[in-house]
């Protein structure tokens, strides 16, 4: 992990524009947050293929569905909260139901739009998107993934939800060597006492936690699950079998997100003790992002505590 940071949304916007020049079928839509989502970069490059519909998210996503029926590859952009809450019906009834090739980019996910407060935080989007049949759910952890995941989504046939953070995130991956594949988890650190399974911006916290645990003599494996659906069952089962305990970490309600997805798989295929680190079914509040993550239990120290707990639960 390097100290270099880049805003995930900047990389997303640049990549979208780049994709636009490679493929004329790619179009983009936004609902008056193009300067926040950075879809505006695409809009400047391809004004005739950019549709800013104003503050009308449901309309935008239903339009995207229409575009997709003609062979266009629409990227619809808004805040993650509004993608789910305002556009939920067209996401389900038009896109998921008919398996339309629409890319839904939900920016400002989790608590990353920290100062705007609970009204703008998005802690239920994974739960919703994951329970839509046909939907692929991707969560982005670093600037390199922002590019690779956006590219992968564009070439994948079918509906994809891209979960994007507002944060400036440290570069974790090396673009030259990263073999990014939808549905394939990635082991970043090997370990034998437990596996920390993280997604999105929480991957940084997981890596930090693993270092702290190493100092305490606990060997933690760290796995990045960037595709929450379809989830990498094989890898999770292997980790559970080899390390015997799991801690999941996500910037989402503990109900219905990554932790739930992992628990569903392991309960059926390789039951081991699991601790789910996430937002404890509460609304958060306005504040500095890192402080907020601390107050709501999403810092490395919280992961460490739960890792120690889960190791004790092993028989």
């Amino acid at each position: 992990m390097t100290a270099v940071k880049r805003a995930i949304r900047d990389v997303y916007g640049d990549t979208l524009a780049q994709l636009g020049s490679e493929n004329k079928n790619i179009i983009a839509l936004d609902a008056d947050v193009g300067s926040s989502s950075k879809s505006i970069v695409f809009g400047k490059a391809f004004p005739e293929r950019y549709f800013n519909v104003g503050i009308a998210e449901a309309n935008m996503v239903a339009m995207a569905a229409g575009f997709a029926t003609t062979g266009k590859i629409p990227f619809a952009n808004t805040f993650a909260a509004f993608m789910v809450l305002r556009a939920g019906d067209p996401v389900r009834s038009l896109i998921a139901y008919t398996n339309l090739n629409v890319k839904l980019a939900g920016t400002y996910a989790g608590l990353s739009d920290s100062y705007d407060g609970a009204s703008h935080h998005s802690i239920a989007d994974i739960a919703f998107m994951r329970s839509m049949p046909n939907m692929t759910v991707i969560s982005i952890s670093d600037p390199v993934e922002a590019e690779l995941a956006t590219r992968a989504a564009a070439s994948y046939m079918g509906p994809v939800y891209l979960r994007l953070s507002r944060a400036e995130a440290p570069v974790i991956f090396d673009k030259k060597t990263y073999d990014y594949k939808i549905g394939k988890g990635v082991t970043l650190v090997d370990g034998s006492d437990l596996t920390i399974v993280a997604t999105g911006y929480m991957l940084v916290k997981a890596l930090e936690a693993a270092e702290l645990l190493a100092k305490k003599g606990i060997s933690a494996r760290v796995v990045n699950i960037h595709t929450i659906k379809p989830i990498d069952r094989e890898l999770l089962v292997e980790c559970a079998r080899q390390t015997g305990a799991i801690v999941t970490v996500e910037e989402h309600n503990v109900f219905g997100g990554l932790g739930s997805a992992v628990a569903e798989v392991l309960a059926m295929h390789q039951p081991v003790p699991i601790e789910i680190v996430g937002i404890e079914d509460t609304f958060a509040e306005s504040g500095d992002y890192e402080k907020l993550l601390g107050k709501y239990g999403l810092q490395a120290a919280n992961v460490v505590a739960r890792a120690e707990k889960v190791v004790k639960r092993k028989k």
Partner: protein, 277 residues
């Protein structure tokens, strides 16, 4: 009854002070929305100091008028007013948007005294306000419900569902004021999504429509008085405003919708507001 000259002067003085306090506050915390807060200064100030029957000492009085900030991102202006009126200590203001503060980035009825409804996601204020207005009728109470909306906010489909419903249910105790500054987040309404003749649209749904200069406290006061006399239909006041009003480099600029205020910008803004009006 029209505003007396001294009341008008008083309101204008308050607006000038609130604008300065707003710039100070938002510069201090380096987050929050200056543009839409500045454009609604006269509207909210006139309502709170001349029209609303609300009292900080009895904030939950069941006969109180209800004010709903549909465009929740203008919360800082509302907080300045509520603090001045004693709904919470003025010292709280500097905690805006900080951890453990009751002053959330967008109004929270759960945490802040004087906030009637939690808003932020645009478009929900009007339908909720309609529910409150219709409850007043059921309860035979004569309070008025006011909803302040953004003009970009009007683009949400749910707004028109509520416009239609208010008309059907004859909510003549509901007054909507539109902060018609012609600017939204990504640009002007003309660029992003033109709303055409806003008044004609509401009229077509069966509303009374009044047009005023939204920075003229006398006109705001008169329009509210008129609205209260109009029976049988809800009334919308289309208030022509300038986004970022009072700070020349912010005026009419979508870039200042939600941008942190830099040091030099702060100095310029404050010097303009010292001499303004």
């Amino acid at each position: 009854m029209s505003l007396r000259n001294e009341n008008r002067k008083h309101l204008e003085g308050l607006c000038r002070k609130f604008r300065q306090d707003l710039i100070k506050l938002l510069h201090g915390i380096q987050t929050g929305h200056p543009g839409g807060s500045l454009s609604s200064a006269e509207i909210m100030t006139t309502l709170y100091y001349e029209k609303l029957n609300v009292n900080a000492k009895n904030a939950k009085d069941e006969n109180r008028d209800r004010f709903i900030l549909g465009k929740g991102h203008a919360a800082p202006m509302l907080y300045l007013i509520l603090a001045d009126l004693g709904f919470f200590p003025k010292e709280d203001l500097v905690t805006l948007r900080q951890l453990d503060s009751h002053l959330q980035g967008h109004p929270s009825a759960k945490t802040t005294n004087g906030i009637e409804l939690s808003t932020g996601p645009l478009g929900l204020g009007l339908p909720a306000g309609l529910g409150i207005a219709l409850a007043a009728k059921l309860d035979k109470k004569d309070y008025t419900t006011y909803v302040l909306m953004g003009d970009g906010e009007l683009q949400e489909g749910i707004v028109w569902e509520a416009v239609m419903s208010a008309s059907k249910f004859k909510a003549d105790n509901l007054i909507v004021i539109i902060d018609n500054n012609g600017v939204q987040l990504d640009g002007t309404l003309e660029e992003i999504m033109p709303m055409g003749d806003i008044g004609a649209k509401w009229a077509a749904f069966g509303w009374n429509v009044l047009h005023i200069d939204g920075h003229d406290v006398g006109a705001i006061s008169d329009a509210v008085d008129t609205a209260k006399t109009l029976k049988g239909k809800p009334t919308v006041i289309v208030a022509r405003t300038v986004k970022g009003k009072g700070v020349s480099f912010m005026e009419g600029k979508s870039a200042w919708h939600g941008k942190p205020i830099g040091k030099d910008e702060y100095v310029t803004a404050m010097s303009e507001l010292e001499v303004a009006l």
